[in-house]
């Protein structure tokens, strides 16, 4: 019979916690775990406090290793940026561990911290299957440009172990988010239709080399028009972050084969022949 609880002895002022461990908290893998430093805690006895109740003795400047400082500032930046678009904690944690990896590999030496932080969030979103376009990440970042994030991304991905490679960007994940912003009535139907249109268009139309957010935007526009809820291209521009002229261009290409793009059981409120041309 082995008791796996931790070793403990009671002292008068120890709190009555369940597992009275004297080993301290678990090591946080996110922070620098190499240093085995100890710090003095705040005094609690009568001798430690002066007449106002404040600490009498200054327990020295809190020293953090440079690694800890850098990591902490990075994590703060990530948390701040992720908070702007309400990313889930899973993504944030993944971004933390990516940031730590980058810091250890030193692969992104010389890049501004904004760019590194933005790229970590971008890769974390991708790895969790909740892809955000680079434009969206630029929007939440303070000073990173698309170019910076792109370059940083290439550097980081090269240094990741192969099994962890982020999957390529998928339109299925972009469409629901864009549709949400448009506030459609038949949202589910239009979402499914837009995804279907995008997949078919990639096969039969000549748009393979277009950016995925542009294809998503044009597919949504076509789906909305066919379902009767025609949204102006300006709205789609705001929702998808794609320029109106780009959407129009891709839409025109897709319009040529419009009848083949829709699912077989689609109820047309507006037949393919009558779809608007602009």
């Amino acid at each position: 019979m082995v008791d796996v609880g931790s070793e403990w002895r009671t002292f008068s002022n120890d709190k009555d916690s369940k597992d009275m461990s004297r080993v301290g908290a678990a090591e946080n893998p996110l922070f620098d775990g190499d240093t085995l430093e100890t710090v003095m805690s705040l005094g609690t006895g009568a001798g430690a406090l002066d007449e106002f109740g404040k600490q009498k003795y200054n327990n020295g400047p809190r020293q953090m290793s440079t690694a800890d400082k850098a990591l902490r500032s990075g994590y703060d930046a990530i948390r701040q940026m992720a908070g702007r678009i309400n990313l889930s904690s899973r993504i944030i944690n993944r971004a933390f561990s990516l940031f730590k990896q980058c810091y250890e590999n030193k692969c992104v030496r010389g890049r501004s911290q904004d760019a590194i932080v933005a790229t970590c969030i971008y890769i974390a979103c991708r790895q969790e299957g909740a892809q955000r376009t680079i434009k969206e990440i630029c929007a939440i970042s303070t000073s990173a440009s698309k170019k910076d994030i792109g370059r940083c991304f290439k550097q980081i991905v090269n240094s990741l172990p192969n099994s962890n490679r982020p999957e390529s960007i998928d339109i299925k994940n972009l469409v629901p988010r864009f549709c949400n912003q448009l506030e459609l009535r038949q949202e589910n139907l239009i979402q499914k239709t837009a995804v279907f249109i995008a997949e078919r268009a990639k096969e039969i139309c000549d748009i393979q080399s277009r950016a995925p957010d542009s294809i998503a935007g044009a597919s949504i526009y076509m789906a909305c028009a066919a379902a009767g809820e025609k949204k102006p291209m300006k709205d789609i521009q705001v929702a998808a972050g794609v320029m109106e002229s780009t959407i129009r261009l891709i839409y025109k290409i897709m319009l040529a084969k419009a009848s083949e793009l829709f699912p077989a059981d689609f109820a047309f409120k507006c037949s393919p022949a009558n779809l608007p041309t602009s």
Binding site: T133, I134, K146, G150, F153, K154, V157, N162, R165, S168, I169, K202, E203, I204, Q208, S209, R210, A211, P212, D213
Partner: protein
């Protein structure tokens, strides 16, 4: 014909015998006899000053100072007295010559003129020279035949870009050195080396980049958000290919012509596998 200019066409640089320098006998009168390009006819006036560098000759050029050695350009160059041996190995032309071949688009080479230069004087006295020290610390000089651009630095080093063949590159570099010499500097022609060669090809069918990126994950980098082309890095020879969905391919990073051909031969079957059938 949808194939690029064929063998006998005077304007083609592909399928040229001098692909491998060793394959030409040193005694053959090279360029003036070939019907290959027109640029050579324009240069007859310059023949008085120097003989066009034929493959294996190390003749000193009359008007240049001490005899110049072009050592790194032809690592296997044979002394003029050695007869051409039929057993000299050279890269065999592919048996299937009806297939598409990459054609060279740009060659970047460097040479050291061996003396410090006064860029201001060069910019003032030479024709077709621009010098903007606040923007870039070199003189940018251009000549019309072969159509090239050179960056000339204070240290005497020079970068020559824009030539379409190796011979054009070295000829152009010599022209620039001549110009500098005429301006009064003791210019020599040391360590000519081709640093980069860029080629392009068209496989004439559309390519499924997504599928190719999935299949060859470790070699490919495909980010449609960042760049519409797929970046394929071949390990041996160390070449980078930009593959576009239209079927056009750009190859770069080669130090020798055969590397481009080798890389293309390696990649062509892969591209055929991912041909878009529609």
């Amino acid at each position: 014909m949808d194939y690029p200019p064929s063998f006998g066409d005077p304007n083609s640089h592909q399928n040229d015998h001098y692909a491998s320098p060793m394959s030409l006998p040193p005694s053959a009168t090279p360029r003036s006899a070939s019907a290959r390009d027109d640029t050579h006819t324009n240069t007859s006036s310059d023949n008085r000053f120097y003989r066009r560098p034929s493959v294996a000759s190390k003749k000193s050029l009359p008007d240049m100072g001490p005899p110049s050695t072009v050592t790194s350009h032809h690592p296997n160059s044979v002394a003029p007295s050695t007869p051409f041996s039929a057993a000299t190995p050279f890269t065999p032309r592919t048996v299937d010559t009806s297939r598409v071949q990459p054609s060279l688009q740009n060659i970047v080479s460097t040479v050291s003129l061996g003396c410090k230069l006064d860029l201001k004087r060069i910019a003032l006295q030479a024709r077709n020279a621009e010098y903007n020290p606040k923007r870039f610390a070199a003189v940018i000089m251009r000549i019309r035949s072969p159509r090239t651009t050179a960056l000339i630095f204070t240290s005497g080093k020079m970068v020559c870009t824009g030539a379409k063949t190796e011979d054009d590159s070295i000829q152009a570099a010599r022209r620039y050195a001549r110009v500098i010499q005429k301006l009064g500097f003791p210019a020599k022609f040391l360590d000519f080396k081709i640093q980069n060669m860029v080629g392009s090809a068209d496989v004439s069918f559309k390519i499924r980049l997504e599928a190719l990126a999935l299949a060859h994950e470790s070699y490919c980098s495909y980010e449609p958000e960042l760049f519409p082309g797929l970046i394929y890095r071949v390990i041996q020879p160390k070449i980078v290919l930009l593959i576009f969905s239209s079927g056009k391919v750009v190859l770069t990073g080669a130090k020798e012509r055969r590397e481009i051909h080798e890389a293309f031969e390696l990649v062509y079957p892969i591209l055929k596998t991912f041909r878009r059938l529609s």
